[in-house]
């Protein structure tokens, strides 16, 4: 997914002179093609994330479209104020790409695990939040961001995910995407949680085609229209996210429902992370299992 993301930025930058790439202190060789072919618009500014956001703001004010890439926690936690003031207050077209969204950096501990990023970014006015589920959606998303107004936060997941979005051709910012249309049951999910939800739905549907999956690649602004209309039609909904349950996708849907769809609130269940620091290591899959974000648990919970 990260490769698809960076490669798409590079290809776009070759055609569009407004595109700038700024990294902090990324791994050796990252974006070498960009650096070698378009050195004037390539910046690797070291471990100075706060300044990088300010620099991106200055560049955007002068008409450029900066794509900023570093570890998600460093962007969302350390640079919160810079993102709020330098970027979002001015509604500037800066694209913030956070590496290691969710539990990807499990072995590196709580300083690196971006499980609060969705809650943090959701609190900021003007910014859009995109959480692609695979490399195809990421590629399409990046292509769509070029002429998009205002700031965008894009969460990168782990690499090598199965492609689940390419046969839909419906990848659009702010539009939700039914991977399977529901009859009785529905998973609503974002990011790589949609991969798990899709497998769980397929498992449930082995016996009878009952369960659907609604993937929300954009969680802010949310496609409330589709979400609300489908919730009315099904019997049970489980919202799945690889993030704190507080403040993320589920919170956003419930907030909307508490105003417009109160009588359907009883249908909603949620699977995600508790609001506490994770004290284990291992890898992303181990921590997903530990937090019960699994195909088995999702299907069990849906059929209960």
């Amino acid at each position: 997914m990260r490769e698809a993301c960076l490669n798409t930025i590079y290809k776009l930058a070759k055609k569009n002179k407004k595109i700038i790439f700024i990294g902090s202190d990324l791994g050796p060789g990252v974006m070498d093609n960009f650096k070698n072919e378009i050195p004037k618009r390539f910046f690797m500014e070291g471990v100075s994330e706060q300044s990088i956001i300010g620099i991106a703001s200055g560049l955007a004010k002068e008409g450029f479209i900066p794509y900023v890439n570093t570890i998600a926690t460093f962007l969302t936690r350390r640079c919160f104020e810079q993102i709020v003031i330098d970027i979002c207050l001015h509604n500037l077209p800066v694209r913030l790409i956070g590496n290691g969204g969710g539990l990807v950096y499990a072995p590196l501990g709580p300083t690196h695990m971006a499980i609060d990023d969705l809650a943090i970014m959701r609190s900021i006015p003007n910014i859009k939040i995109i959480v692609p589920c695979d490399a195809y959606e990421m590629k399409k998303t990046i292509q769509n961001t070029v002429n998009y107004k205002g700031p965008i936060y894009i969460r990168l997941a782990k690499g090598g995910e199965k492609i689940i979005s390419n046969n839909k051709n419906l990848v659009q910012i702010q539009k939700s995407n039914f991977f399977i249309k529901p009859k009785k049951y529905l998973f609503i999910s974002t990011g790589i949680a949609s991969q798990i939800a899709l497998e769980a739905a397929k498992y449930i549907n082995k016996k009878k085609q009952l369960c659907g999956v609604l993937h929300l690649g954009t969680i802010k602004p949310l496609d409330y229209k589709t979400v609300r209309s489908i919730i009315k039609k099904v019997k049970k909904v489980i919202i799945v996210e690889e993030a704190f349950k507080d403040g993320g996708l589920g919170t956003s849907i419930l907030e909307s429902m508490s105003e417009n769809l109160k009588s359907h609130l009883y249908k909603i269940y949620r699977i995600g992370l508790q609001n506490k620091f994770i004290s284990n290591y291992g890898d992303q899959d181990i921590l997903l299992r530990h937090n019960k974000i699994t195909i088995k648990n999702l299907s069990k919970m849906m059929l209960k």
């Binding site: 004037k40 618009r41 910046f43 500014e45 070291g46 100075s48 706060q50 300044s51 990088i52 956001i53 300010g54 620099i55 991106a56 703001s57 200055g58 560049l59 955007a60 004010k61 002068e62 008409g63 450029f64 104020e81 810079q82 003031i85 330098d86 207050l89 001015h90």
Partner: protein
């Protein structure tokens, strides 16, 4: 006060000319109208901004987004009363508007906002942001081969912020000779004297070691400021530069000079109002 500061402090006690007093008069009227504001932090800035707008930068108040304008960022946004005074004086908006400062529907808040106030390049207020934004603008100018300059006005307390030093590293790395930092070194921050709170000396060596061309001037001496900034345009350096402007907090208002309690006031006592009105009467 070390010997350097003692020397500078004496030289800073110079008397102000009519225009400096007039601009301060606009600030005092604004303060009296709103009953609040960063008094000392604005008064120390007047000559720095005055020289920039009177003699140095390219701008057009009728076309605030003029492509080849020089960019000025007041990173110490709390000094905005001085910026508002000079912008109003130059015709970016009417002087009458100054009297709406901090009122409900005003464009002029306690910190400047670029989408409300013509002539303000970026919204500031929280400290430590302006330099990095200026670095971005200076890089943009280099990429586009545009000749305008970027001026960033920093406060002395402001450079406590780590983000300033991050941005300084990038400014130096990219040899941003189109970037000029003006440091309003009035020696006082909110709680008291900078040297007692978080000493920033040796300032010259510090900025120099960060790759800046450093000069030091009396920040109330019009001729020195003018000469220094003209030099910035003439001299080829291949590095960013900073002018440390020694100033007096509250300069021009005798009762507020070098007095930490005049950094910010959210209300004025009757006695303060009388003193400020007296100042206005004296300058005529």
């Amino acid at each position: 006060m070390n010997s350097l500061n003692k020397y500078f402090y004496k030289s800073l006690k110079i008397s102000l000319d009519k225009r400096s007093k007039y601009l301060r008069g606009l600030i005092v009227k604004t303060l009296l109208s709103s009953g609040r504001g960063h008094v000392g932090s604005s008064m120390s800035l007047v000559e720095i901004l005055r020289v920039l707008y009177d003699h140095i930068i390219t701008f057009d108040p009728k076309k605030p987004k003029l492509k080849n304008r020089d960019r000025v960022i007041l990173s110490k946004g709390h000094g905005c009363l001085a910026l508002y005074a000079i912008l109003a004086d130059k015709g970016f908006f009417s002087k009458k508007e100054l009297l709406s400062f901090c009122k409900f529907n005003s464009n002029l808040g306690g910190h400047p906002e670029s989408f409300k106030v013509k002539g303000v390049e970026t919204s500031t207020g929280s400290l430590g942001h302006g330099l990095a934004i200026g670095v971005g603008m200076a890089i943009a100018a280099k990429i586009k081969n545009e000749k305008h300059k970027i001026f960033i006005v920093l406060g002395d307390g402001e450079i406590n912020e780590g983000s300033i030093w991050e941005a300084a590293l990038s400014a130096s790395k990219h040899k941003l000779d189109n970037l000029k930092v003006l440091l309003d070194y009035n020696k006082i921050q909110s709680y008291g004297f900078v040297r007692d709170i978080l000493n920033i000396e040796p300032l010259k060596k510090k900025w120099s070691s960060f790759g800046f061309d450093v000069s030091e001037i009396n920040g109330h001496n019009i001729h020195q400021i003018k000469k220094n900034l003209n030099n910035f345009f003439k001299k080829k350096r291949k590095k960013p530069s900073i002018t440390i402007c020694h100033t007096i907090k509250g300069k021009g208002l005798a009762f507020a000079e070098n007095n930490p309690s005049w950094h910010y006031r959210s209300s004025f006592k009757n006695n303060d109002i009388i003193k400020m009105q007296k100042y206005l009467n004296n300058i005529g």
